[in-house]
């Protein structure tokens, strides 16, 4: 067992020379915090950028070239749907997230966060890739992830990255969060982050406040719309959901 605390920038510089291909990896995303939900996760990676999108099964996004020669993000839905995006520029050391919180889409830009991964001896094969187990704590959950050095890119699904190879599988210790690679292919499209029209830019502190308080805010909103003849009682869920923010600002 070997603890790694290597700087992300160092790993990026070391491995970028080996990874010139653009890849698109599809993950099956599974959340179970009360209501089991399956989603599609699409990770696009180049040597210095990655974009991960969690899509509802009825939504997809693409970049389209407009008349001015600029790329525009286009999201199409067959029904009501949403997409959460996580973009990393390893060269500029920035992490951009775009998430939907109660119908509003917010964009947050900040530096890269660190996960102190512990690489274990255990190995297994996922598809044709030899993978190694690593474990790390991130925002209230302990993740066991399988990464492969055959694809020496420090990326992974959602906000999980920082190992010397692509993360192909990640499961939290409570089995409530799971990302499992389904397919991998090479692509030609550029990887750029374009926020959706109407997205609001907020600071990380504002984002944390919204994430911590949206359940209360939602309940207030529902109460205010209640017809007079109906009496209501509510219990706000104490479930920690996907992530818990602490004071470490990570």
């Amino acid at each position: 067992m070997k603890k790694i605390k290597t700087s992300i920038l160092f790993i990026f510089i070391f491995f970028s020379a080996f990874s010139q291909t653009k890849l698109e990896i599809h993950y099956n995303v599974y959340f179970n915090f009360g209501l089991p939900i399956e989603k599609l996760g699409v990770l696009k990676i180049t040597e210095n950028k990655s974009l991960f999108e969690i899509q509802t099964k009825n939504a997809n996004s693409s970049l389209k070239l407009n008349e001015n020669g600029e790329y525009t993000k286009v999201v199409s839905f067959t029904e009501k749907g949403f997409i959460d995006s996580y973009f990393i520029d390893f060269e500029k050391q920035i992490f951009v997230l775009e998430e939907n919180i109660l119908g509003e889409t917010y964009v947050v830009t900040r530096g890269l966060h660190n996960i102190d991964w512990i690489v274990m001896e255990k190995t297994k094969k996922i598809g044709s890739f030899d993978c190694q187990l690593a474990t790390g704590e991130f925002r209230g959950r302990i993740y066991n992830v399988w990464f492969t050095t055959k694809i020496p890119i420090i990326s992974g699904p959602w906000k999980l990255y920082g190992l010397p190879g692509l993360i192909l599988e990640a499961t939290d210790s409570l089995n409530q969060v799971q990302f499992v690679m389904e397919s991998i292919k090479t692509i030609d499209d550029p990887i750029n982050f374009k926020s959706l029209k109407g997205s609001k830019e907020i600071t990380f502190e504002e984002y944390v406040y919204k994430k911590e308080n949206y359940k209360k805010e939602f309940s207030k909103k529902v109460d205010s719309k209640l017809p007079r003849e109906i009496r209501g009682e509510s219990v706000i869920s104490k479930s920690k959901g996907l992530e818990v923010f602490d004071n470490t600002n990570n």
Partner: protein, 95 residues
């Protein structure tokens, strides 16, 4: 003494008969799912269930409903219980 005892038995029988009659008229469909509805309202997943109806002479005295609201990741936001007297109409309209 015998008369007192007979009167007591008679009163007991009459009270029991009235009570039984009342109970026959009031029925409650406890824990019986009468209506269910799952929908996605914007970015909220709403699971609604009419839980209970208290009836008297086939008329609804009280109706109760539970709604579970989940966010886009399936995380429970809140569980809300609603009650109305008179009918279930206004609750059904919320579904």
């Amino acid at each position: 003494m015998k008369n007192t005892f007979l009167t007591f038995v008679l009163l007991l029988t009459v009270s029991f008969a009235f009570a039984t009659n009342e109970l026959e008229n009031i029925s409650t469909l406890s824990n019986y799912s009468l209506e269910k509805n799952d929908k996605t309202d914007g970015n909220i997943i709403v699971k609604t269930e009419i839980l209970d109806k208290i009836l008297k002479d086939n008329k609804v005295l009280e109706c109760s409903m539970v709604i579970n609201y989940y966010d886009v990741h399936g995380d429970l936001i809140s569980t809300r219980h609603y009650y109305t007297s008179g009918s279930c109409e206004s609750l059904l309209a919320m579904m």
